[in-house]
Every structure is written in C-alpha cells, then in structure tokens.
C-alpha cells in the first residue's frame, strides 16, 4: 500500500472499529481500517445489539452508557433508521418477592445515579408485556434501554466514514507493528506496511493477542455465548425483557455455564432469546446443555412460546476483561498505540461513547467524561506513571 500515510489505522471492522473510524474522520483525521476477515464478521455479527442502562450500577460503565445513549439519540440520531434504532425500553422482571425486594434496592441506587426507572406492580406487567407469565412478583421499566441491529450499525458507520474519506481494507491481517523505539508508528500487514500517527486496537475478543504483538498486556478474554433465534412471529415481545438475575450474571466471574434470560423481538419478526456465558476459550462446539437451559428459562417467562420453532442460533465470544470494564485509551507503554476493546456483552451500546472518548484522547481534546477507569495499563503490576 504505497503512498498511504493516514493519521489513524484502526485494526478491526466490527462495532468498535467502525465507531472509531466514524468519530476519527468526523474529527478531521484521515483513517484507514484494516480487517483480517470481512466487515462485521466477529462478535458484532453474533449479538443482540443491546444499548442498556438497566443492567448497570453507578460507576464508570454507567457513565459511559449514559454518554453513549446521548450520542445514539443526538449526534447519531439522524441515522437511527439505518440501523433499526429503537427506544423500546427494558423490562426487568422478578419472579419472587425476595427478587423484587432486591430489584427495588437496585432501582433506588440507579435512580440516584441518573437512570430513568419506574417500578411496575405485578398487576401492571400485563400492560407492558401481555404474553409474560402472570406468575411474577413485579418488574422495573427502563425507558432508556434501546436496541439496534448491530451488523447494520457497524456497516453503515463504516460507510459514513468512507464517505468522509476513510478507507476500509478487508482480508488484511496485521502481522506486527512498525516501531521507533517504544513508539508504535504503524502496522505491518500481510499486504504491506502502513505508517500512521496512531494505531487503534479494536480487534474485539482478539485484542489481547494483538496487544501482545506490540509487547503490551491487555487481558481481553473470550466468554462464549449462545442466542436462540425463532421463526418470524407476529409482535409478541414488545420490550427488552429480562430476568433480574441477568444483572448479577453480567458481573459474575464464574467459569462454568451460566444462563439468564434476555428476550426481545426484532424488526424482522424473529425473537432473540439469550443468554449464556461460558469460559471455554474459542471453542465453537455447539453445546446442547447451554441451548436447553436458555430455552427452559425463556419458557418460564413466556410459556406461550413453547410451540414456536427455532430456526438458528448465534454463537459468539464476548470480549471481557477481569474487572468487567472495557479498555479505552492511549497506551503509555507503547506510545502511538491505543485500545478500544473488552466491552464484554455491552460493546454495541457502548461503542459510540468509547470511540468518542478515544478520539478525544488521541487528539488531546478535553474528555467528555473521565476516561481513566478504562486506561489500558491498569492491569500491569506496576503502572507506568
């Protein structure tokens, strides 16, 4: 690739890479995206497209979610139709009185942190979701929870970035980095070198391997998940509906199979039914026990779905970090290198806030919110000061 010398090379054409390309080009930078496979071919193509605030507690991830929510509705609002943006709201349900007590405590903390949440009494649940089982103790409604179609979102952000001059090279694998001492000055690929002012690691679940190529540790690991996809149905599930235990499971670090119910309808009429979490590396074997448990728990909430046919499943690998926070920012251990990865199951929703913060960090702009909780070097025993 002779002659190209972009300001920024973004590695990875998933949701995070696409959002970074968009915000960087909007900031006036020249951008080149390199992707070893096809666009949107990794975890972006195997997830639900959640933009949730309801599963967050006060803290840096919630701040990032609220920033992202603002961007989805504001700066990116005009494009919402392209990626099926829908402010459908989330309904978290509790099966028992004890579960409802826990949910009430959570919602009080969340309300204090700025989340819009309303308690829903057991006899009002039917008004939100007529097909939910009547055997519930109560629920909480989160009007800010949204949904996008993640593949369309990432593909359109890449297209919009291309229209502003960005280049996207698929089928191009990064094999190493150009260095000037500690400094990263570009990437080596199987199709030639690209020198750049900044290199952004947006390689998703594979970001840890890529960081290792640059000699820095960024502990992003895979957490496998399955989603069941039904045949197209008439409107049946109107909100994002999930069981109260879901919040606990997103924050859990257990090794074994965990499942917690998340159900939602899509524009195409299919119903997506999740979710499972397993630490099994990059094993792509379909696990019948995991699928069975997801199906069983979904039927406990929506017994009427029993005869509905399943057409396919998604299998994906969430990129998670040991402290369940993403990695966002420039890397002082390898100046010139920056990371935006490790969002676990929330990467679609948090992609835009993360990309905006990263571009601010790369251009020296004042950060919209505090980015230091996400600093990539936080896992090192001795942080570089």
């Amino acid at each position: 690739m002779p002659g190209t010398h972009p300001d920024v090379v973004v590695i990875g054409a998933g949701a995070l890479g696409a959002a970074t390309a968009w915000f960087a080009t909007r900031a006036g930078l020249t951008v080149e995206v390199v992707e070893r496979g096809s666009i949107v071919s990794g975890t972006t193509s195997a997830c639900e497209g959640n933009l949730l605030v309801s599963d967050k507690e006060a803290g840096p991830e919630l701040d990032l979610a609220l920033l992202s929510h603002q961007l989805w509705r504001g700066e990116l609002g005009e494009f919402g139709g392209l990626w099926e943006f829908e402010e459908k709201g989330g309904l978290v349900v509790a099966a028992t009185a004890g579960g409802m007590a826990g949910l009430t405590e959570l919602t009080e903390r969340q309300r204090a942190a700025g989340i819009d949440v309303r308690e829903v009494a057991a006899d009002e649940i039917h008004d939100f979701e007529p097909h939910l089982t009547p055997d519930l103790a109560g629920a909480a409604f989160y009007p800010q929870d949204c949904q996008v179609q993640p593949m369309l979102m990432a593909a359109h952000l890449l297209r919009l970035a291309r229209e502003l001059g960005a280049r996207v090279r698929t089928g191009t694998t990064v094999t190493g980095f150009l260095r000037d001492g500690d400094r990263v000055t570009g990437v080596r690929t199987d199709r030639g070198d690209i020198a750049a002012g900044h290199v952004v690691n947006a390689a998703g679940t594979w970001a840890g391997e890529l960081a290792a190529l640059a000699g820095v540790e960024v502990p992003v690991l895979p957490r496998r998940g399955f989603i069941l996809v039904t045949e197209p149905l008439p409107p049946t599930v109107f909100h994002k509906v999930y069981a109260g235990e879901y919040v606990a499971s997103t924050q859990s670090s257990d090794e074994g199979l965990q499942t917690s119910t998340v159900i939602e309808g899509t524009r195409a009429g299919t119903v997506l039914i999740g979710s499972s979490r397993e630490r099994v590396g990059f094993d792509r074997t379909v696990s019948l026990p995991a699928l069975r448990e997801i199906a069983g728990k979904a039927l406990a909430l929506y017994p009427g779905l029993a005869p509905v046919a399943l057409m396919r499943t998604y299998l994906g690998f969430r990129p998670y970090c040991p402290d369940h926070l993403p990695v966002i920012g420039t890397d002082p251990r390898a100046p010139g290198l920056a990371h935006v990865a490790g969002h676990e199951g929330a990467g679609i929703g948090l992609s835009v806030g993360s990309a905006k913060l990263l571009v601010e960090a790369m251009t020296g702009a004042t950060p919209t919110i505090d980015i230091t909780p996400f600093r990539p070097e936080r896992f090192s025993l001795q942080e570089v000061s």
Partner: protein, 484 residues
C-alpha cells in the same frame, strides 16, 4: 436408551443399501428416516398401508427397491445377535451430539410421543440426499412455480398432477422424468427448456458410456417425449414468469454458446399454469457439518462431504454415501451405501469380502466419472443473472431483492456471502438458505467467479438440522445428563 453399532440416516437408495448391508454383516443398525415409509425421494411411492398392484409405476430401478425393502423387513425381525435393523420412520434428526466414542442423534417427536427419541450408535452412515437447486427468476414467487422434485413427489406419492399446462425448465437429465411423468399423468407439457446444449456429452463419450443403463434410459425418454409430443428445447431458459395471483405465462429466451442470453432472438411467451424448475441438486450437508466432517466443492459447485475411497469422512466413525458426497444419481448412491456399510462393518471388526469392496470401488469410480461428465454438460448457464432485475426476489423467505444484495456489496462493503446474508438477510428466513443459498453465494461474488468452500461452508452450517420447537429443546435429554 437404545444402543446400536450403526445408525444410518436416510432411507433412500444410499441409506437403504447401507442399512441392509451392515445388518447382513451382523451389525445392530438403526435406520432413521423422515419419511413414513422407506424409499426416500427417489423411490417415493403411494402409501403401503393401502397396497396397489401398480405401486412401481413411473419408478426407476424399482426392483432394486423391492429387493432392499424385502431384505429390510426380514432384518427388522431378525435376532439381535445376527444383525438386525430397527426402522425409525417419520423422525428427523435435529441435533447430533458426541456420545462417548460414538454419536447421539436427537430426533423430532411425532404426534403423541411424550419422550423425545434419541438414538445412540457407535458409528454413523449419513445419507441425507439432496433437493432441487433453484435459481431466482422474475416472478418465481407466484403460486404455480415449483421445484421439479416437488412436482415429481406429488406424482409419485399421491398420483397428483400439480398443473394442467406445464413447462419444465432448468438443466440436467432429471427434467426428463418430471416432464414425462406429468405427461403420463395427463398434463400437457408445452416444453422442456434445457439450458445446456448437450454437446458436452458427445465430447466425453467414454464418461457417458461408463454407465450403460443411462444410455438405455435416454432411449426410453426419447420414446416418451415423442409419444406425448413434448418439445425438448436446448439452450432455452425461462426468463420471467407472468401472472397476477398465479402463474399464467412465461417468457423464454435462447442462450448463446457461452451460456449468455441472446438479445437477437425473440421467442413467444408460453401459456402455462405450472413451472417446474430444476438446476441440478443441492446436497443436504447439515449433518455432515454437524459432526465436524470436512467439505469440498464438487464439479457442479455444490458443497459436498470429503470421503475417502471407503466413504469415510475425516471424522472417525462417520461415513457418508449418496448425493452428499457429490450428486450422481441413484445407482451410484446404492453402491456408495453398500460400500459405506462394508467399511463400517470392517472397521467394527467384521469380515467383509475384499472382492465386493473392489467391485464397488470400481463401480463408484465409473459412476463419479459419469456424474462429472453430466455436470459439465449441464452447467448453470454463465448468463443466469442476465434476466434478473433489481426488484427480482432472491430470497423468498425474507423477500430480499437483487437490488438489496447489490447495495450490501456496493454501499455497505460486504465482500463475501456471509456478510451479504448478515446485512441484506438472504438465507435468514424459514428455509435458512436451503433454496436461495447457491444463488445468494454466487451473487455475493463478481460475476463468473467459481464458488469455494469458504463461500458455501458458512451457509451450510445449521445448528438445528431441522426446525425444533422451544419446548422440544427445553425438554431434550442430553449426554451431559448421564445415563438415563
């Protein structure tokens, strides 16, 4: 819990032959089949509960079937110690799970069954067969457009004629039995539109002569076409289907030597109420990919299983026979099924006749040469996209148009079939790309580029080999439960 030495999936020519041969070599065999009675698509026939003397009418190799069926019924009541077959009819395999050194097949329940059937076996012979390959054409979503195999299935099983005035179109020798079957049943067949020129056969006479019975069949068909005055038009294609609520007429066009649509030839429309399309066959690969066996692209650009000259896949204990190793017809499938059974028997420590093995291997090699020659003589024409329009539906389940596929490529930057599917949804619907998969994969590539395994394999992988209800999945026993 039932334990078997061997599970055979599919009771068509390959599967029947495999099950009978394996049981005759002493194996305890489960023969699992979606149909209510054995025979598969090739030997689909009227309900045996109401026997009729003419049940073999319109069939080919029927005596091979009645022989296999008689042996099957004998083996169903044989002693388990000497080899026996348990026929599990009316069940589809929806999932394959590893079970110790073997496999557990999860089957769909039939009405009234409360426990979900599961078959565990030390080895598998997969004989899933295939179905008609389809290409999109403007108007093909109208009622009255059918797969040639669907038309034939109605004839064979129910003696039911799908229309009164038919055109049979596409390419390949399978168009002949469908057209003559319709005519024998009383329909008027206004034309067979064969896209190929058949000059390919003459160029490879040795391959075509390799299977003598095929030449004989051709003579029979020529006589039937003459008897029913069915015009056989070569290098001719249906380019559009017209009608408000159902098929009323079709436009036809002529191809040049390179398979492109000639613009200098104008042919009159044909008034028909039935269009039967067949562009060769697509093998069913769900179970082959589910067990993890590797695949390759055959001469006809179908994804097929990789097998060695014993029908073994690269997964220990998994064998494949019939169309899923490469579309080649019933005779070849019968031989492959028999060889797979001999291989499975030998691998299970049973003595088998080396002479039989060598005879079958020679027969299969001949059959493969013939099949390759047939595929070369009946390619999907190079110009099949010439008569599509931007608003032509490619995926009928998701109503994805050609224009939407072009947008996914040009506007959104999709560079392969999987990404086109993710962004424009062809193959995402009810049939999971079984109908449009080939066309969608071709349309995702530059015109004229051949398909590769990496184009087709991601589209052929389906978690559920058959649709399964949430309730079935939620109550399925799994190997992780331990002994039950």
């Amino acid at each position: 819990m039932v334990e078997f030495d061997l599970a055979v999936v599919g009771a068509g020519p390959a599967g029947l032959s495999a099950a009978v041969t394996a049981a005759e070599h002493g194996l305890r065999v489960a023969l699992v089949d979606a149909g209510t009675q054995p025979g598969g698509q090739f030997w689909r026939h009227p309900d045996e509960q109401h026997p009729r003397p003419d049940e073999g009418r319109g069939q080919h190799l029927w005596s091979r079937f009645t022989d296999l069926r008689a042996r099957l019924h004998g083996l169903e009541s044989a002693a388990a110690t000497t080899g026996r077959i348990e026929l599990v009819s009316g069940h589809q395999v929806w999932f394959v799970e590893p079970a110790g050194e073997g496999f557990a097949l999860h089957l769909t329940a039939v009405h009234g069954e409360t426990r979900l059937p599961r078959v565990r076996a030390a080895a598998l012979v997969l004989c899933p067969g295939g179905y008609d390959r389809q290409l999109p054409v403007p108007g093909w979503e109208l009622p009255g457009v059918m797969a040639a195999g669907g038309v034939q299935a109605l004839l064979k099983a129910h003696r039911s004629v799908a229309g009164r005035r038919a055109v049979v179109a596409g390419t390949g020798p399978f168009l002949l039995p469908v057209a003559t079957g319709l005519a024998e049943a009383g329909a008027e067949v206004v034309a067979i539109c064969e896209a190929g020129s058949l000059s390919g056969w003459a160029r490879r006479p040795i391959d075509a002569a390799a299977v003598p019975s095929k030449a004989l069949e051709a003579v029979e068909y020529a006589a039937l076409l003459a008897k029913h005055r069915i015009p056989y038009r070569m290098r001719t294609v249906v380019t559009a289907i017209h009608g408000e609520t159902e098929v009323g007429a079709v436009s036809v066009g002529r191809l040049d030597r390179s398979g492109r649509l000639r613009t200098d030839v104008s042919l009159p429309d044909l008034d028909v109420d039935l269009v039967a399309f067949g562009w060769g066959f697509t093998p069913s690969l769900e179970l082959i990919t589910a067990v993890g066996a590797s695949t390759r692209v055959d001469v006809d650009e179908s994804l097929v299983a990789n097998v060695d000259d014993w029908q073994r896949t690269d997964v220990p204990g998994a064998y494949v026979a019939g169309e899923a190793t490469g579309v080649g017809g019933a005779l070849l499938a019968i031989a492959e099924g028999e060889l797979a059974a001999l291989a499975a028997s030998r691998d299970a420590g049973r003595p088998v006749s080396e002479a039989s093995v060598r005879r079958l291997q020679r027969q299969i090699a001949r059959g493969r040469r013939f099949a390759a020659a047939m595929h070369r003589a009946h390619p999907v024409p190079a110009g099949w996209q010439d008569w599509l329009r931007q608003d032509t539906t490619v995926c009928r389940c998701e109503e994805t148009t050609l224009g939407e596929i072009c947008d996914a490529r040009r506007e959104l930057g999709a560079t392969d079939a999987r990404t086109v599917k993710l962004l424009a949804r062809p193959g995402m619907g009810w049939c999971q790309g079984r109908v449009c998969g080939f066309a969608a994969a071709k349309l995702a590539k530059p015109v004229g580029e051949a398909l590769t395994t990496s184009d087709l394999a991601p589209l052929a992988k389906r978690t559920f080999a058959a649709p399964v209800s949430l309730e079935t999945l939620a109550t399925a026993p799994t190997e992780s439960d331990g002994a039950t």
